[in-house]
């Protein structure tokens, strides 16, 4: 039976794929629920905050997706896209995330070398 990817690994893979398919995305962060440490809570969806200058600044709109075991994405995920200005307002606490989520680690954009190796 194939080994299931860890939640952290899937979160990183999702973020890297989003950076790749939408180069315009400036930054991607993990969102953490209260009590969630670095994506270790198995019962919590993976949550990504994506700073995208192409998204309209119309507020925080979480979009949920279910797991897909065939694609080795065994966890549900939630994507929150924000415009750069909205991200600044989040940092300044002028804009709030729902469900007491907080901004966690930043995912790095894959390097050209990493992309070429895939």
């Amino acid at each position: 039976m194939p080994k299931r990817s860890t939640r952290n690994a899937v979160a990183k893979r999702l973020a890297e794929a989003h950076y790749t398919v939408e180069p315009v995305i400036a930054e991607i962060f993990q969102l953490l629920a209260p009590g969630e440490q670095d994506a270790q809570r198995e019962d919590e969806p993976i949550k990504l905050l994506e700073v995208n200058p192409d998204t309209p600044p119309v507020g925080i709109v979480p979009i949920e997706f279910g797991p897909d075991f065939r694609a080795d994405i065994p966890y549900p995920s939630i994507i929150v896209e924000v415009a750069p200005d909205e991200y600044q307002r989040l940092k300044q606490r002028k804009l709030k995330l729902p469900n007491r989520w907080r901004i966690g680690r930043k995912f790095q954009r894959p390097s050209p070398r990493e992309l070429a190796a895939r």
Binding site: L14, H18, V21, E22, P56
Partner: protein, 186 residues
């Protein structure tokens, strides 16, 4: 208490019906404004189906039309998502056009006017900057021109596939990755 999944499926089924009606109108050569109206309503309902699945209150969603431009590009990207690497990069141009189209679709609703800069819509007459009264039936909708290109056909196909999966699987769509049905639509 009615669950969020029931609301999500209900919105998705209406989106599916709107898309099917749009296809019928398109085949019959109906005016572009009528086809566009159904497309706008379908996209709005598809987006609301996703937002309901996350727990947005249905009564809140019914008040606004302005969900498409923010939600639709993310929904389409997830449907296309094929993991990291070259295959994912192939979708970059497609997603750029999807984002532009999503904004144009949102502007089709009469209530969404971009601060008065875009009074054109697919339902009600409006006055342009020169004082001419324009009826939607006479408008060419240049922002939707991409729909008449192969890329636009792909976008419609993917939207149809997404609503089929939502209504068929009775839940929020999965992130289909490499094996997703939407891969067949390229």
């Amino acid at each position: 208490m009615i669950g969020r999944r029931a609301w999500s499926i209900a919105w998705a089924r209406q989106a599916e019906a709107d898309l099917e009606a749009r296809a019928v109108l398109a085949r019959g050569g109906s005016p572009l404004c009528e086809q566009s109206h159904l497309l706008q309503m379908a996209c709005e309902k598809l987006c609301k189906a996703f937002l309901c699945s996350h727990g947005s209150r249905p009564e809140d969603l019914q008040r606004s039309h302005a969900y498409v431009s923010k939600t639709l590009p993310v929904v389409v990207r997830q449907a296309l998502f094929a993991g990291p690497g070259r295959r994912a990069r192939q979708h970059t141009r497609f997603l750029k056009h999807t984002a532009l189209l999503a904004r144009e679709i949102e502007l089709l609703a009469p209530a969404v006017r971009d601060g008065g800069r875009r009074p054109d819509n697919c339902e009600y007459p409006w006055a342009d900057a020169k004082g001419n009264v324009i009826s939607p039936i006479d408008h060419a909708f240049p922002g939707l021109a991409i729909l008449r290109q192969p890329l636009g056909g792909r976008i419609l196909k993917i939207l149809t596939d997404i609503v089929h999966r939502m209504t068929g699987e009775h839940g929020p769509p999965t992130n289909p990755g490499r094996s997703g049905r939407t891969q067949d639509t390229k």
